[in-house]
């Protein structure tokens, strides 16, 4: 504001303002300013109201609509993703249950087979044991029967030696019974 616009026309200006008072009250300049102002204002109003302001409000509304739309889209996608995540979790749980069942079945089957095989094996062993015991029994019985004969013979030899006379078989049998 320090510099002044010293127009070239100033010298032709009416020297009225030099005597003091507001330059704004020089009424000879009012008419032109008022007419120009009304003209300029009218043009500005028309340009703004018909051309530019609708575009500004349009841009603002469009942005608002786009943001609202984007948020709605995002929300929808999030909901969808949640549904899918829930479905996936359910699937995983199902698969896990299935796998556990399969594992349990396999285990049961394996243990059943193992038990069967063990039982068979035990049966074979028991059979062999029984056969062995039977053969031992036979051998012992036989051995025991031999013991009597040996005892009779020994007793006959001892009697003959002591008495000099052989004892009869009947007498030996009676003595050993």
């Amino acid at each position: 504001m320090a510099t002044e616009n010293h127009g070239t026309v100033e010298s032709t200006e009416a020297p009225g303002h030099e005597s003091g008072g507001l330059p704004q009250l020089q009424f000879q300049h009012w008419g032109g300013q008022i007419v120009w102002l009304l003209l300029i204002f009218a043009v500005l109003y028309v340009v703004l109201s018909k051309g530019l302001l609708p575009r500004v409000s349009g841009a603002i509304d469009e942005r608002g609509a786009k943001i609202a739309g984007d948020i709605a889209d995002a929300r929808r996608l999030k909901d969808e993703a949640e549904v899918q995540a829930r479905a996936a979790a359910a699937e995983v749980a199902e698969a896990r249950a299935k796998a556990q069942k399969t594992a349990a079945d396999a285990k049961a089957k394996a243990s059943a087979q193992a038990a069967e095989r063990q039982a068979k094996e035990e049966a074979v062993l028991a059979e062999k044991l029984a056969a062995a015991e039977a053969s031992i029994q036979t051998a012992r019985d036989e051995a025991m029967s031999h013991v009597r004969t040996v005892a009779e013979e020994t007793a006959g030899a001892i009697v003959e030696k002591l008495t000099g006379k052989a004892a009869s078989a009947a007498e030996l049998k009676a003595a050993l019974a």
């Binding site: 008419g31 032109g32 120009w36 204002f41 109003y45 575009r55 841009a59």
Partner: protein
């Protein structure tokens, strides 16, 4: 010291022969510095909004400022006039933008059109005539109810009507003088303090302290004037909305 009022002197830039208007006499339509400033301000508003109204979804700086100003006036009209404010938005916005640009322009260039009483008074009359026009268009003859508020006891009514009429007639004057006074006062004070800087600076070392103080004041006042430039345009828009609201919602007056 330079005459602080000299900055308001109207000077012709382009001479145009006077036009004879029937009933009014000759009107000098020369392009003066005031007219030039108005033309420039209007052009800048249009250029600014031609750039600002680019409709980009992600706005640039100019578009952000343009939309902010638009949103400001939009919010103003909406909050004061209500739903019908949208209809008057272009008018209020044109006033606001025009006055704002003229005020701000005065901070950068040498002439402020809004420091001319002819300009502010015309704007004030424009507002009040629009208010009267809208009032009659909306309410017909009931417009005069504006001057007779409901719920006033009968014996005091003549006095109230008188006061209301005077206050209504004074509105364009207060609108005009408020803007005019703020602009003139600010620029005169700036000019005087700036003059002090030169005058005191010429006095030698002792004067320099005073000159520095005056310079500091000028800087601070310049900042203040920027605020005033915006605030006065805003106040003009607010009062326009208030006056329009009076006649739009006459029933609840």
């Amino acid at each position: 010291m330079a005459d602080p009022m000299h900055q308001f002197q109207i000077q012709k830039i382009v001479e145009v022969p006077p036009v004879k208007v029937p009933g009014l006499g000759y009107i000098d339509l020369s392009i003066t510095n005031s007219v030039f400033a108005m033309l420039l301000a209007a052009t800048l508003v249009i250029v600014f909004y031609a750039i600002a109204a680019r409709k980009a979804v992600v706005p640039g700086r100019l578009q952000t400022v343009g939309e902010m100003l638009y949103g400001l006036v939009d919010g103003l009209a909406e909050s004061i006039i209500g739903h019908e404010g949208k209809k008057f938005l272009p008018f209020v916005f044109t006033l606001f933008a025009f006055v704002l640009f003229m005020n701000i322009q005065g901070m950068f260039l040498v002439f402020t059109s809004t420091s001319q009483l002819a300009v502010t008074l015309t704007l004030g009359l424009l507002v009040i005539l629009t208010v009267v026009g809208v009032g009659f268009a909306k309410n017909g003859i009931k417009f005069f109810k504006l001057f007779a508020p409901s719920g006033v006891p009968g014996w005091i009514l003549p006095l109230v009507v008188l006061i209301e009429i005077v206050s209504f007639l004074v509105r364009p004057l207060t609108l005009a003088l408020r803007l005019f006074g703020n602009m003139v006062g600010g620029h005169v004070v700036l000019k005087i303090f700036a003059g002090f800087v030169v005058a005191l600076g010429g006095l030698g070392v002792l004067g320099w302290a005073g000159a520095a103080l005056a310079l500091t004041s000028v800087v601070a006042l310049t900042a203040l004037e920027f605020m005033v430039a915006f605030l006065q345009a805003f106040v003009f828009a607010v009062l326009t909305c208030v006056y329009l609201n009076d006649v739009v919602h006459l029933d609840s007056h």
